[in-house]
């Protein structure tokens, strides 16, 4: 068992037009910049994969990462909780021009829907969004005298995530708040593709400290010294 891929072509193989792609990260922390840009390059060269549904907490910042996907024209729909950022122009322009669809999901519901997708829970109830526009059209149920909204699981064809350390069996650790959605997304995608800053031998990650067990990971590509989205933006990346 060796999940390590020698290059982006192998790591990103099989990502096709119209797929749903979960992308880890909250703000710049955990954004798998190198994986995203390899996919953007592929799209620019081959015209594919396009018409993607992208699932992330945000909707891009500046002109890198998910914003670069939007500028390239690869994204048909965003599923996110907060499509704003310090520089949300890429998404905002496309959205106001009607070129990109938005499914707005409260952040905790987004996290729970992804977890449910990975955990085989097709639907659950949450108090979040009850009585608001966001709940329009969703089933409502009462439990113990309180109202709740039924939400469905969220799955994806592919997850692109960033880990700090990985082994060939797919065990992962993350760095600080770069963990965020990534362990959930790893469970909810058919194919989970990881960029890891460092690859170690199985057993070198303490079994007590594995955050994502290898069962949830399909492919790993090693990216030492990965770019950090927020740092890039502050350096003025275009």
């Amino acid at each position: 068992m060796n999940k390590i891929c020698p290059n982006f072509d192998e790591a990103l193989a099989g990502i096709e037009d119209g797929m749903a792609v979960m992308i880890g990260g909250f703000g710049g922390a955990g954004a798998p910049i190198e994986l995203i840009h390899a996919l953007v390059e592929r799209y620019k060269k081959t015209g594919s994969p396009g018409r993607l549904t992208v699932i992330n907490n945000n909707a891009g910042n500046g002109a890198i990462g998910i914003a670069a996907m939007i500028y390239a024209g690869m994204v048909a729909k965003m599923v996110c909780s907060f499509p704003r950022s310090s520089d949300p122009k890429a998404f905002t322009d496309a959205y106001l021009a009607g070129e990109i669809e938005l499914e707005l999901v409260p952040q905790g519901t987004l996290a729970e829907r992804i977890r449910a997708g990975g955990a085989g829970i097709p639907a659950f109830y949450t108090p979040s969004s009850y009585g608001t526009q966001v709940a329009d059209g969703k089933p409502i149920a009462e439990f113990d005298g309180k109202h709740y909204v039924q939400e469905r699981w969220l799955k994806a064809d592919v997850a692109l995530i960033k880990a700090e350390v990985a082994d060939r069996k797919g065990n992962l650790t993350y760095r600080k708040a770069a963990r965020n959605f990534s362990p959930l997304m790893a469970t909810a995608a058919k194919t989970t593709i990881v960029q890891a800053g460092r690859i170690v031998e199985p057993g070198e990650i303490d079994p007590e400290q594995v955050i994502t067990p290898g069962i949830f990971v399909n492919r790993i590509v090693e990216i030492p010294d990965p770019k950090q989205e927020e740092a890039l933006l502050r350096e003025g990346a275009k």
Partner: protein, 223 residues
């Protein structure tokens, strides 16, 4: 109209009510200022949606670690005893009722505890973040806000007009003019600026201010 509190002063006033040992989530922006004014001697543990418990102050400029940020994407530091966790665990803390207090900003607050703070209506890009979870999660939901809009219209209303964030959830409102609890679907006035009469305050409030017992003086230092 008399002079009113600055945002920093509103934050200061709210901070005085932080209990020792409380688990607290401070919303993005204005509510974040509350941490600065926590009274000495009280230990408060801050939660941020993106997966940190017990974070500390901002690091000095130039020493930021952009993998160590809060929900507002601002760089933070860690206190001894901090922990990291993923987003589902983070919102389990929120939704599961484990936070003592969540503090939010608001466009409108209704006397029944409804809050509108995420959308100014059609035409803008909607963004909700974690607010719809927070309003149903914490044991107390505080709002910090100017008492009126920039146009001088009441933000405390009989019913919200803007799209709701949550229904019947706000417990206390700290404004630029007053401190108001929401009890049994009524605004109960706890404190007001001493220079302002109850009638003056009522005139800029869109629903009845109920008085139960003494109205305290809202006295806040320069901060």
């Amino acid at each position: 109209m008399t002079s009113k509190l600055t945002n920093a002063q509103i934050a200061w006033r709210a901070a005085q009510d932080l209990p020792d040992g409380a688990y607290v989530n401070l919303g993005i922006g204005f509510p974040e200022m509350i941490a600065k004014f926590k009274p000495d001697g009280r230990e408060v543990i801050y939660h941020t949606e993106n997966g940190i418990l017990d974070f500390g102050e901002a690091p000095p400029a130039g020493e930021e670690d952009w993998d160590l940020i809060n929900a507002g994407k601002k760089a933070v530091t860690l206190n001894d005893g901090a922990s990291f966790f993923h987003h589902a665990d983070s919102f389990a803390m929120v939704r599961g009722g484990h936070l003592d207090i969540a503090v939010l900003g608001a466009y409108e607050i209704a006397e029944n505890g409804d809050i509108a703070n995420w959308s100014t209506g059609p035409g803008s890009v909607p963004a909700v973040g974690g607010a719809m979870d927070l309003v149903h999660g914490a044991k107390q939901i505080w709002v910090v806000t100017d008492h009126v809009t920039k146009k001088g219209e009441p933000k405390l209303l009989k019913e919200c007009r803007l799209p709701l964030t949550g229904v019947g959830c706000v417990t206390t409102v700290y404004t630029s003019l007053a401190v108001i609890d929401i009890v049994n679907q009524r605004f109960v006035l706890r404190e007001k600026l001493p220079a302002m009469s109850l009638a003056e305050l009522q005139a800029v409030t869109g629903a009845e201010l109920v008085v139960e017992g003494t109205i305290g003086d809202l006295i806040v230092p320069e901060v």
